[in-house]
């Protein structure tokens, strides 16, 4: 079942202007959107706040209703707390399978540390990673 290992990340688009990110962070807080992990990417054009949140579907709706541009993106979480080499192994598996890793970022929780990656073919990646014995985060773990 690859689905349970495909995690919904919210990608929030932020214009590159002073104070814009702070305003969005405040809105998320006021809407009780609880960010578990996040990463901020910046292009020449605009910033993208990538976040793993509680209840992504509900959070997505809350954010959208505030007039903020948000999209859902599928990512995969590689468990790294008990096997430090698993990140390298995961990258190796994807490389051999010809699956492209677009970006990744770390998450450290109370019970779990993980590295979230965005790949071009998430379902195929989950199958390949699992076959290689790599532990993956389930949506319910975080």
């Amino acid at each position: 079942m690859p689905e349970e290992n495909v995690i919904i990340q919210l990608s929030i688009f932020v214009n590159n202007e002073p104070g814009r990110l702070a305003a969005i962070a405040r809105t998320l807080k006021e809407s009780n959107v609880n960010m578990k992990a996040f990463n901020l990417a910046e292009s020449a054009e605009f910033g993208i706040l990538r976040a793993i949140v509680d209840d992504p579907e509900e959070s997505f709706e809350k954010i959208r209703q505030k007039g903020i541009i948000v999209k859902k993106t599928q990512v995969i979480g590689i468990v790294i707390n008990d096997a430090p080499g698993s990140l390298f192994d995961a990258a190796d598996v994807c490389g051999r399978e010809g699956i492209n890793i677009e970006y990744g970022y770390a998450y450290a929780g109370k019970n779990l540390s993980a590295f979230f990656i965005r790949v071009d073919e998430p379902h195929r990646a989950v199958t390949a990673l699992k076959e290689a014995g790599i532990a993956l985060v389930k949506g319910t773990d975080i």
Binding site: F13, I48, I69
Partner: protein, 433 residues
């Protein structure tokens, strides 16, 4: 080849120009005597109507501007009392007062005469049936085309704008041969016909269209003709003249501007006359207006005029397609840039919304131009590489069209300020001190 007024339409150029100068002096005399506005204008430069013995001399008469028309709202420029008027039209304005234009019966007759010569020049006759989807009412398009068509015996369906379903039913059920309306509405009709599986070539008898009332391009005409099989004739005018007035003949090579009704100057940046065929600012004088004078009026459009004889045999000058507006022309690094050109490029990319902003800055007297344009929400992606690719493709197309480099910034949907009736905003931050 049919003519509406053959003798006049084919008069040699020299005779036409002589007649034009005579009419010009007559009109100036009438307006000098009856319009305080024109009287004061001529007096301010010490000219009497009799002094105007050449077109060069006429160029000493001060311009009339759109602001003059607005400032004299509602009827201060009328030179006839209401009991001599038979109609009023009101132009919509995005800023300030609207412009109210009054017409005598002779004004209406001259207006219709102009359109009748034009419609005849591409083959329309009393055998035709015209579906007029120009708006009827204060806007001049509906009634202007309506009366002109009736006067030449064309059967008119005064359906006006909107209710596309009914428009499409009528053009199939009745033997409609021609359309009049805005090009964008014709595109809309073509789209709906496509959706419904209606082939205009097969399922209707429509052969010609009169398209105007908004800026449009030659490539739009080609597209419209290819899609519909209808020969589409450009039409130009303004309520300040009378309304839509000048049409293209069968040759589709410029609008025939009737020399006995209007005198059109094309001027360069210094106010000197441009050479035949050279692009410049249009200044329009109406030669037979009765109720509302229009002398050396800066309409704000850019185009060129040629006296070269048309392939159809008509000798009157031809006005080329309007290629820009004076009020929004920008000069960047010495190159003329029209927002309409930028708009055209933006329209070519499905991933952009129509909203954009032009920012001009300079450093060491070197101008730079930045264009912020919104990406459509559906095309927005996390993938910064493809965002970058989109930006580069817009920049490269702009370079081709404008001949100068513009820096493009894609911004998020909804992030650019919206202005009433305008999708563009120009921010000129250049300093010259």
């Amino acid at each position: 080849m049919a003519y509406w007024n053959k003798e006049l339409e084919t008069k040699p150029k020299e005779e036409l120009q002589k007649m034009q100068l005579g009419l010009l002096r007559n009109e100036l005399r009438t307006m000098y005597d009856s319009s305080k506005f024109i009287h004061d204008k001529m007096k301010s430069v010490g000219l009497l109507p009799e002094d105007i013995d050449s077109f060069e001399r006429f160029r000493k008469v001060p311009f009339m501007k759109k602001t003059d028309l607005r400032d004299n709202y509602p009827d201060n420029l009328f030179v006839k009392p209401y009991h001599e008027l038979v109609r009023l039209h009101v132009s919509s304005g995005t800023t300030g007062n609207p412009i109210v234009v009054g017409y005598t019966q002779n004004d209406l007759d001259n207006w219709a005469e102009s359109l009748d010569r034009g419609m005849t020049s591409f083959g329309m006759s009393k055998d035709d049936i015209l579906q007029n989807f120009h708006g009827y009412g204060l806007f001049t398009g509906g009634l202007g085309v309506h009366y002109a068509a009736e006067k030449m015996g064309v059967t008119v369906l005064p359906i006006s704008t909107g209710n596309t379903e009914r428009q499409i039913k009528m053009m199939q059920d009745l033997p409609i041969t021609s359309f009049a309306g805005t090009p964008s509405y014709m595109f809309h009709i073509a789209d709906i016909c496509d959706q419904k599986g209606i082939d205009i070539r097969r399922d209707t008898k429509v052969r010609y269209a009169i398209a105007g009332g908004e800026p449009w391009s030659e490539s739009m005409r080609q597209k419209l003709q290819e899609r519909t099989g209808i020969k589409v004739h450009n039409c130009y005018g303004a309520s300040e003249f009378y309304g839509p007035m000048f049409l293209e003949c069968n040759e589709q090579d410029g609008l025939h501007v009737w020399a006995d009704l209007a005198y059109v100057e094309v001027l360069d940046r210094n106010g000197d006359q441009c050479a035949d065929g050279e692009r410049g600012e249009l200044v329009v004088t109406m030669l037979k207006k009765e109720a509302f004078p229009l002398i050396r009026y800066k309409i704000g459009d850019i185009s060129s005029l040629t006296w070269e004889k048309c392939g159809c045999g008509r000798t009157h000058p031809r006005l080329m397609r309007i290629s820009g507006r004076t009020d929004d022309m920008l000069i960047v690094r010495g190159v003329n840039v029209f927002p309409s050109q930028i708009e055209g490029v933006i329209g070519e990319f499905a991933f952009l919304t129509p909203f954009y902003r032009i920012t001009l800055t300079n450093e060491n007297f070197m101008d730079s131009m930045t264009i912020d344009v919104e990406i459509g929400e559906d095309s927005l992606t996390e993938d910064t590489v493809s965002i970058d690719r989109m930006t580069r493709s817009v920049e490269s197309r702009l370079k081709d069209v404008l001949n100068i480099k513009a820096v493009v910034h894609l911004t998020l949907p909804g992030s650019l300020e919206r202005f009433e009736g305008k999708s563009c905003h120009v921010k000129d931050l250049r300093r010259y001190d």
